[in-house]
């Protein structure tokens, strides 16, 4: 029985790398501290593999042939994809994959009624995977990666209830189908509020973001699922804020757990509210309400 030893979530935005130095000092400080803490937690959790739930930005499939979940089965994950290199302003990275783990996820989720697709080729990664990998130093940690790219922007996509349920299925796959004693990290990346390419681009709904983080640290998942509908997410930034569905999927996988907010900042030129959290995955966490371990 494999176990989930780490569960974290963090925003991605190209500017976090390429426009880091020109950001206000306070925003730089929040980001350095929060992503640095995630890097430390990843190193210390002694993980075998990180399953990264990241939204796809139409970088891997035609919009009229768009899958809801794509599991990366490549033996090595390299990025960023060519078009995004200059835009991100980061160097190249290569992280070992775990095709065996990816295969179990593909088949395990399929058997549990979730339509999932998979690719044996290296997927195209833009800021979705590149920013968290670079900012939390996953390459140098030596931990393997299984990316799961999620559709949150080409309707119809799975809503908050379905994403939470899919998270529960993923936890079951981890427990029942993955190798014994495998130490798994879950990393959700996406959000917070933004509206890429929309009329409200550059606007960040700071009130929404802080309220969302507050909901998470209260740890009442029923309330989160009641309040965070797709309509509510769209209101806080069409086509972008819905990336928080990856956070909700991870919440489904771990159940109710104590949640630490590691930082939040909103600078309009990053075009996205930047937040990071870490859930307490110690075996008997203080304040755990009996989640789905």
């Amino acid at each position: 029985m494999a176990q989930i030893s780490l569960a974290v979530a963090a925003s991605h935005a190209p500017g976090l790398i390429g426009m880091f130095d020109v950001a206000p000092e306070q925003s730089q400080r929040v980001v350095s501290s929060a992503y640095g803490e995630l890097a430390r937690q990843i190193r210390e959790a002694d993980l075998d593999v990180i399953i990264m739930i990241a939204n796809d930005h139409m970088a891997n499939n035609r919009i009229r042939e768009y899958p809801d979940f794509v599991v990366g089965l490549a033996p090595e994950h390299r990025g960023p994809a060519e078009f995004f290199k200059d835009w991100l302003g980061c160097g190249e990275y290569a992280v070992p994959g775990r095709p065996d783990v990816g295969t179990e996820i593909l088949n395990g989720l399929s058997r549990r009624g979730v339509r999932v697709t998979a690719s044996r080729e290296n997927l195209n990664f833009d800021d979705n995977v590149s920013v968290p990998v670079v900012k939390t130093q996953i390459e140098s940690s030596g931990v393997a990666l299984v990316p799961i790219l999620q559709n949150v922007t080409v309707p119809p996509f799975p809503d908050q209830d379905r994403c939470y349920e899919i998270g529960r299925h993923l936890a079951e796959v981890i427990r029942e189908d993955l190798p014994d004693d495998l130490r798994v990290g879950l990393f959700a990346t996406g959000g917070m509020s933004h509206e890429p390419g929309g009329v409200r681009d550059f606007w960040i709904d700071e009130d929404f973001d802080r309220w969302f983080l507050g909901l998470l640290s209260n740890g009442d998942h029923d309330k989160v699922l009641r309040e965070i509908s797709v309509d509510r997410l769209e209101e806080a930034g069409s086509g972008g804020t819905g990336e928080l569905l990856s956070w909700i999927l991870v919440m489904g996988a771990i159940g109710e757990r104590r949640c630490d907010v590691l930082g939040y900042t909103a600078w309009d030129q990053w075009r996205c509210g930047i937040g990071t959290v870490s859930w307490d995955m110690t075996p008997d966490p203080v304040g755990a309400k009996g989640g789905d371990r």
Partner: protein
């Protein structure tokens, strides 16, 4: 501009996705835009919107805003970190405001 109004069949999506998947096509597009557009089965309305950088019209045809931001980086030759000026030009178009008008964000 709700996500529900997106036209999944729109050929312009293919053009933008191909451009981001293929550096060589991007070079050809910059050198001779018309010859690249000719290869796509665009409707006259799509073609005109692209030629005139009219993102408002393109969005009204059901173009996905996320691809809009990426297309702007190519059309406005600004694919460096953040690509702020490309997005500002995109915004001016979809808001139908002149650049530097009241909707423009301050730096």
């Amino acid at each position: 501009m709700s996500l529900d109004d997106i036209n999944l069949a729109l050929v312009s999506h293919d053009l933008v996705q191909d451009l981001k998947w293929d550096a060589e096509l991007r070079e050809q597009f910059v050198a001779d835009e018309a010859s690249v557009l000719d290869r796509y089965d665009l409707t006259p309305a799509e073609r005109t919107a692209i030629e005139e950088r009219d993102f408002r019209a393109l969005y009204d045809l059901g173009f996905h805003p996320y691809l809009g931001a990426q297309f702007a980086r190519i059309l406005f030759a600004n694919n460096r970190s953040g690509a702020t000026s490309a997005v500002e030009q995109l915004l001016a178009s979809i808001r139908q405001e002149p650049l530097g008008g009241p909707g423009t964000v301050t730096k």
